[in-house]
Amino acid sequence: MNKKWKMTLPTLALLTAVACGGEEATETENGEVDENGEETNEETNEGTSDDVETGEADTEVQATGDEDVVLDFWIHQTGEDETNFYIERIDAFNDAHEDIHVDTEIIIDDGASAYSDSINAALVAGELPDVMAIDGPYTASFADADVIQSIDEYISDEDREDFVDSIIQQGTYDGSLYTLGAMEGSVSLFYNKDIFEEEGIDVPTSVDEAWDWDEFKDVAEQLTTDERYGLNKFWNYGIGEYMTFSGAPFVWSNGGALIAEDGSTADGYLNGPEAVEAFEYIQSLFDAGVVSNSPGEMQFEEGNAAMALGGPWIAISAEDADLNWGMMPYPVKDEPVSPSGSMAYGMTTNSEHPEEAYELMAWMTNAESTEGLAEVTGMPPARESAFENMERFEELPWSVMKEQVTETARARPATPAYPVLTDAFAEIYNAASLDQDLQQVADQQVERVERELQRFAD
């Protein structure tokens, strides 16, 4: 008998240890649990690494315990400089507000769905923060489900005025404003100055002079040789949000839409004649061989493509590669439109302190934050006043981007079915490179969007 127990005891001990694993752990302030009861993240943002660690951000200003209000704040993981800037701004906020303390959590974002998975998980568990970062076009999903609340009653008129139209448009659902972003996104036509000079091609310098589709295609054809493509459209970014972000203006410019104005149907819009014509135009670029559906990572930077239709980050990599580059406006058909949108902040209906939560949102998107962020990331700011204060945007090439953001930028449609709508758009857009009947592909994809819309019909 004795022997028996001697042998089983360690096993039983192990088993109980497993079964009671949860009890050994201690809760930290945010309800996160760590095995050893230690702070989950003691090394955040230490050293010179490019990487940003996720988890509780190690902000400098510690809670004193005297604050009346503690706000939970989620931001997504992104480049080091950008995240450090957020942390700096949050520190400044904590400094400036004796009665409020912000606990920041940096959530993993792998560029795929990790960030939204985390939000989903928190939603199901009922553990949302007071304020969180949301990708702009997803505003409608969250607003429609009453996950985030309208900020109409908090935002001042002059503040509202100062944001560029596309940011207000992006944050608005059903007539109310829900989210605000400090950063805008845009896509313009980058070009290799050396090649253009060689070929003697003049370039438009403002949005009024933007090339129309025919001119654009002609130039792309002229610049295509055996060794290089005329254009890089970053097809290597995959079939995802980037396609909708960067490609939707082709449809809009042709007088089309992704979905009806009232959001009730995509039938006759995403597969309507204007949209399909736009997709076919993209297809014609592939047919003409001026663009590759598998461009190399550095195709434009290495001179293997004469133009690149992409975001401001091209400027950084081109600069690194010592490329002599310039910027032109996004090509248009009838209506001048350009891509828009970026991460934004929303405050949840969970929040017990909406006023303070709005104060945090306002702080993170105020003039100082907006300008600083544009400085750090190279992205355009979300406020008119920030543009005024930044010399960079006064002259070429960046003046082109300023004009786009302030004059032609259009937000992606606000619909709770956006996750499906954007996938559908990306599939059709990508099919343009695949030698497909685009009308047929569009019809199939619309069917999928219609199914999704039914869920929100009532």
């Binding site: 008998m1 022997k3 028996k4 042998m7 089983t8 096993t11 192990l14 088993l15 497993v18 694993g21 949860g22 752990a25 809760e27 309800g31 996160e32 649990v33 760590d34 095995e35 989950t40 993240n41 010179t48 690494s49 490019d50 990487d51 660690e53 996720t54 988890g55 959530i107 993993i108 792998d110 560029g111 795929a112 990790a114 998975d117 985390s118 998980a121 199901v124 568990a125 553990e127 970014y237 190399g296 990572e297 550095m298 980050w313 990599s317």
Partner: protein
């Protein structure tokens, strides 16, 4: 006659060498590229150079520059340690729990044994991916999100492992146990003192099967271990790949680093593993 045999042998060797190339070239290319600069990776691709390490002095930063960059960009070391904690946790507890269950099903005359075996085998076909959401809610309510406990505990009991253990124990010579019984050993004693020490192969097999399965785990760690401090290597790699523009050299270095632990496990355990398979595979 003899000549014919020699020719045949040469043909077999050529086939085997060709196949070895097919199976090895991505691995070799990965390791060779992990030491090169991006420009060189692309330049070498059209020739055999692609599979050779760079010449000494050919690269400015030295052979391990990409590794340095990779480790600087992401805390690969921590990810690997996390993966090891995660997998070894599952293996250690899994071996205990599943071997006991397998033994019970193989040797004890217990009511409903057949029923339980059926239930356990039926759970084999449930795709874990399909129950992640309810499982997540459960783990959250237990307060286990972002803990090793939350990563490990749900996957300790493993139907496949139980099944393997049962098959193995069924074959175990009854005489040994009978003899032990006569010596006054209890059944619990028999299991831990006689069966377990004599069953190394099946333990090694199950350990390796669990290791392969969970070292590769993707969705569950992604959802449950969002925090950097317990992120596993497979998730860490994914982040690496999605940072545009992708730098091939450091990426290859990261992939190589992620492969090393698995490689070591195989080098050390392969012999047991084959033995174990010989046992479990032959009897079904």
């Amino acid at each position: 006659m003899k000549r014919k045999r020699i020719i045949r042998r040469i043909l077999v060797y050529m086939l085997m060498i060709f196949l070895a190339f097919i199976f090895l070239f991505p691995l070799i290319w990965m390791i060779a590229s992990s030491m090169k600069e991006d420009v060189q990776i692309f330049r070498d691709m059209g020739s055999l150079q692609a599979f050779l390490p760079p010449m000494p002095g050919e690269i400015e930063g030295g052979y391990f520059e990409n590794y340095r960059i990779a480790f600087e960009r992401a805390d690969l070391f921590r990810y690997i340690v996390n993966s090891l904690i995660y997998t070894s946790g599952i293996i250690i507890f899994g071996l205990i729990v599943n071997s006991m269950a397998g033994y019970a099903l193989a040797r004890f005359r217990i009511p409903f044994a057949g029923f339980w075996l059926g239930v356990i085998i039926a759970t084999l076909i449930i795709p874990p991916e399909s129950i992640f959401l309810p499982l997540y809610v459960l783990v959250f309510n237990l307060g286990w999100v972002n803990t090793y406990t939350g990563l490990i505990v749900p996957f300790i009991a493993n139907a496949f492992a139980i099944f393997l253990f049962r098959q193995f124990f069924l074959d175990f010579p009854k005489e040994l146990e009978e003899a032990a019984k006569i010596d006054g050993c209890s059944q619990v004693g028999i299991f831990f003192r006689i069966i377990v020490p004599l069953s190394k192969p099946v333990f090694a097999t199950v350990a390796i099967v669990l290791f392969i399965n969970h070292w590769n785990d993707f969705l569950w760690p992604l959802v449950v271990a969002s925090d950097e401090s317990i992120r596993t290597i497979q998730i860490g790699l994914q982040y690496f790949m999605n940072q545009e523009p992708v730098e091939w050299g450091p990426m290859m270095a990261a992939l190589t680093v992620a492969t090393i632990p698995m490689l070591l496990v195989f080098v050390f355990l392969q012999r047991y593993y084959v033995q174990g398979l010989t046992h479990t595979g032959s009897k079904n």
